[in-house]
C-alpha cells in the first residue's frame, strides 16, 4: 500500500514506514535514545530527501519520547530537576549549534561535517560504553555480591553552586550538567538528532547518575530539544512532512511501549552493551561510506524552481 508524502513529494510503502517507526521506537523506549541517528539513514534508504528525513525524524522523536517518558514517570525513573538543568543547557547549545550549522552550510561542507561528527562521536561513545559495560559484566561475574562504588568524586564535583538531585542521589554543582546539556545541544542541532546517544553516557560517566534514572531523564529533555528542532526546521526550511511523521509515529509509539518494557527486564549492563553495539554498527556503516569509493561520484541537489 503506497502513500504519497506532500512535503517529501514521493510515494512510499506505508508498511515500510510503520516498520521503520516501530524499530526506532523500540530502541527509543529501551535505551532512552531518541533514535534520530537511526531514523535519518533509514528514511534516506527509502528515498526520502535528507532534509525532510532530518526534520521529520525530529518530529517523530518527540512522539516516541513522550510515549516512553510517561511510562518512566509512572515508574519514578525521571529526575525532573536534573532534566530541567540539562534542558536549560541544551537550549543554549541548540541555538549555538544552529549558528554553526548555517556557517558550515555557507562553506558548502555541511554533509561532510555531519557525517564526520556522526562517525567520530558514535564511534567514541560506542567504544567507551562497550569497554566499560564489558568490564562491569566481567566484574559482577568474578565477584558476585560486591557492588562497585557508585559515587566516584570526579573533579567536576568540587565546583560551586551545588544542588541536590534527589532522584539521582547526587549533590553536585549545576555547572557540569549545564555544560553537558549545552554540548549535546550543539551536536543535536548540527547532526539533526535528539542527542540521547551522547547524553546517556555523559550522564552515567561524567555526572555519575544511576542508569535507571538516566534513561527517563534523557527522554524528558529530548522531548523539548527535538520539539525545538522541529519548529526550527518547519519555520526556516519547511521540511517537516506531517504525513511521513504520522506513519512513523504510529509505528514508533507502539514500538516505544514494547521497548520500555523490554528495557525494564534487562540488566543495566546488558542495556548499555546492546546500545554500544548498535552505536558502533551505525558508526562503522557511515565510516565505510566515507572511506570506500562511491558507485556514483556525482550528486544532484535542486534549488527550487528556476
Amino acid at each position: 500500500m503506497q502513500i504519497y508524502l506532500p512535503i517529501a513529494e514521493i510515494s512510499v510503502g506505508l508498511f515500510a514506514l510503520l516498520g521503520v517507526g516501530g524499530l526506532v521506537g523500540f530502541l527509543s523506549g529501551m535505551f532512552g535514545v531518541g533514535g534520530g541517528f537511526l531514523i535519518t539513514p533509514l528514511l534516506f534508504f527509502l528515498g526520502v530527501p535528507p532534509t525532510v528525513a532530518v526534520a521529520t525524524g525530529a518530529n517523530q522523536v518527540v512522539a516516541s519520547s513522550v510515549s516512553a517518558v510517561l511510562s518512566h514517570i509512572r515508574r519514578r525513573t525521571v529526575d525532573f530537576r536534573m532534566g530541567w538543568v540539562l534542558l536549560a543547557g541544551g537550549l543554549i547549545g541548540s541555538s549555538l549549534g544552529i549558528f554553526v550549522f548555517n556557517l558550515l552550510s555557507r562553506l558548502g561542507q555541511i554533509d561532510l561535517a555531519v557525517q564526520l561528527s556522526y562517525v567520530l562521536f558514535l564511534g567514541l561513545v560506542g567504544l567507551i560504553m562497550f569497554q566499560e559495560s564489558m568490564r562491569a559484566i566481567l566484574r559482577s561475574r568474578s565477584q558476585p555480591g560486591k557492588v562497585p562504588k557508585r559515587h566516584q568524586h570526579l573533579w567536576v564535583h568540587r565546583w560551586p553552586l551545588k544542588m541536590k538531585f534527589r532522584a539521582s542521589g547526587l549533590y553536585i554543582s549545576v555547572i557540569p550538567p549545564l555544560m553537558v546539556g549545552a554540548l549535546v545541544g550543539v551536536l543535536a542541532a548540527v547532526m539533526g538528532v535528539g542527542g540521547g546517544f551522547i547524553m546517556v553516557p555523559a550522564m552515567i560517566y561524567l555526572l555519575g547518575m544511576p542508569t535507571k534514572v538516566v534513561v527517563g531523564t534523557s527522554l524528558f529533555q529530548i522531548i523539548f530539544v527535538s520539539a525545538y528542532t522541529t519548529m526550527m526546521h518547519a519555520i526556516t526550511n519547511g521540511t517537516v512532512d506531517i504525513m511521513l511523521a504520522l506513519a512513523l509515529i504510529v509505528g514508533g509509539v507502539i514500538g516505544a511501549q514494547f521497548g520500555a518494557q523490554a528495557g525494564a527486564r534487562l540488566k543495566a549492563e546488558q542495556v548499555r552493551i546492546l546500545l554500544a553495539l548498535i552505536v558502533l554498527g551505525v558508526a562503522a556503516t557511515l565510516a565505510t561510506g566515507l572511506l570506500l569509493r562511491p558507485d556514483e561520484l556525482y550528486s544532484i541537489s535542486s534549488e527550487g524552481h528556476a
Binding site: P6, I7, A63, M231, V240, M243, L290, A306
Partner: protein, 257 residues
C-alpha cells in the same frame, strides 16, 4: 457582385507573406491527451498519459517517411551537480557546477531513434533531445559537460529522464500515439507536452499542450499550510506527536490492566 467581393480577397491573398518554411507541405497536427489534469492525492502512485492525434493535410502525402516525436516536460529547476573526490583518505564533495534550468521530469518518445528522426540543427532549434532540454550557461569549471552527463545519468536511473526510441507510433503517415508513464515522485506544476512531425530530419509541424499536475485534498491543504503558515504547521505537527505519544502510553496501560 460576387466578383466585387472576391477581387479584394484575391489581392490580399497575393499580398500576404508566404507561409512559414516550417509547414511547406501544409501538414498540421490535430492532437488530444487522455488527461489534462493530474490530481496528486494520498494514494497517488504515478499516472499514465496517452497522447494521440492525426495529421491533417490538404495536399497528397509528400515523399519520404513521416516521423513523430512526443516530449513531456516537467517544471524546470535550478540544479547543482557536485563531484566527490578523495581527499586525505575520505570521499568529499569538491567541485560543483550549477545548471540554470533542468526539467524535473523529461520524457521523449519517438517513432524511430531520435538521431534518425531529427537533424542536429533542428534539435538545437527546438530543444528536443534530453541533453538539449537542459540549459547550462556560464558553467566555468573545467569539464562541465561531464557534470551535465552525470545529471542525465542519475536522472535516467531514477526514471525522471526517459528516452524511448520506439515509444511513439505512427500509422499510415496519419495517425499517431505515444504513452507516457509518470512516476510517483512528481513535482507539482505545469507539464508541457510537445508533438513534432518530422520528414527527412526536418520539423514539419509542432503542437503544444499542457497538463496541470496538482496536489489535492489533504495533500494540498498540508502543503499550503507548511508554506503559508510555517509556525502553525510546526505546532500542528508537534501537537499530533505529543497527542499520539500520550495516546499510545495510555492505551497500553489500559490494555495491561
Amino acid at each position: 457582385m460576387i466578383r466585387r467581393i472576391l477581387a479584394p480577397l484575391l489581392a490580399l491573398a497575393l499580398l500576404a507573406p508566404p507561409l512559414p518554411a516550417q509547414e511547406p507541405a501544409g501538414e498540421t497536427i490535430v492532437a488530444g491527451l487522455s488527461q489534462t489534469r493530474i490530481a496528486i492525492t494520498t494514494s497517488f502512485s504515478g499516472s499514465d498519459v496517452l497522447v494521440f492525434g492525426a495529421v491533417r493535410r490538404e495536399a497528397p502525402i509528400p515523399d519520404g517517411p513521416l516521423q513523430v516525436i512526443v516530449t513531456l516536460e516537467g517544471p524546470a529547476e535550478q540544479v547543482t551537480v557536485r563531484r566527490k573526490e578523495r581527499v586525505a583518505g575520505i570521499w568529499i564533495n569538491t567541485d560543483a557546477v550549477e545548471i540554470d534550468r533542468a526539467p524535473s521530469f523529461y520524457s521523449v518518445a519517438s517513432s524511430v531513434p531520435l538521431r534518425e528522426a531529427l537533424t542536429d540543427t533542428e534539435d538545437l532549434r527546438y530543444s528536443i533531445s534530453i541533453p538539449r532540454a537542459i540549459r547550462s550557461v556560464g558553467a566555468v569549471i573545467e569539464g562541465a559537460p561531464t557534470f551535465v552527463e552525470a545529471l542525465i545519468r542519475i536522472r535516467e536511473e531514477e526514471a525522471h529522464y526517459v528516452d524511448e526510441p520506439a515509444g511513439a507510433e505512427i500509422a499510415e503517415d496519419t495517425l499517431f500515439r505515444a504513452q507516457f508513464r509518470m512516476p510517483a515522485d512528481l513535482t507539482e506544476g505545469t507539464y508541457l507536452t510537445r508533438i513534432f512531425l518530422t520528414r527527412d530530419g526536418r520539423v514539419v509541424d509542432s503542437h503544444e499542450t499542457a497538463i496541470d499536475v496538482r496536489k489535492e485534498g489533504l495533500e494540498r491543504w498540508l502543503f499550503a499550510l507548511s508554506r503559508e503558515q510555517p509556525p502553525l504547521y510546526g505546532l500542528l505537527s508537534l501537537f499530533i506527536a505529543v497527542a499520539l505519544g500520550w495516546a499510545a502510553s495510555a492505551g497500553f496501560r489500559y490494555l495491561r490492566r
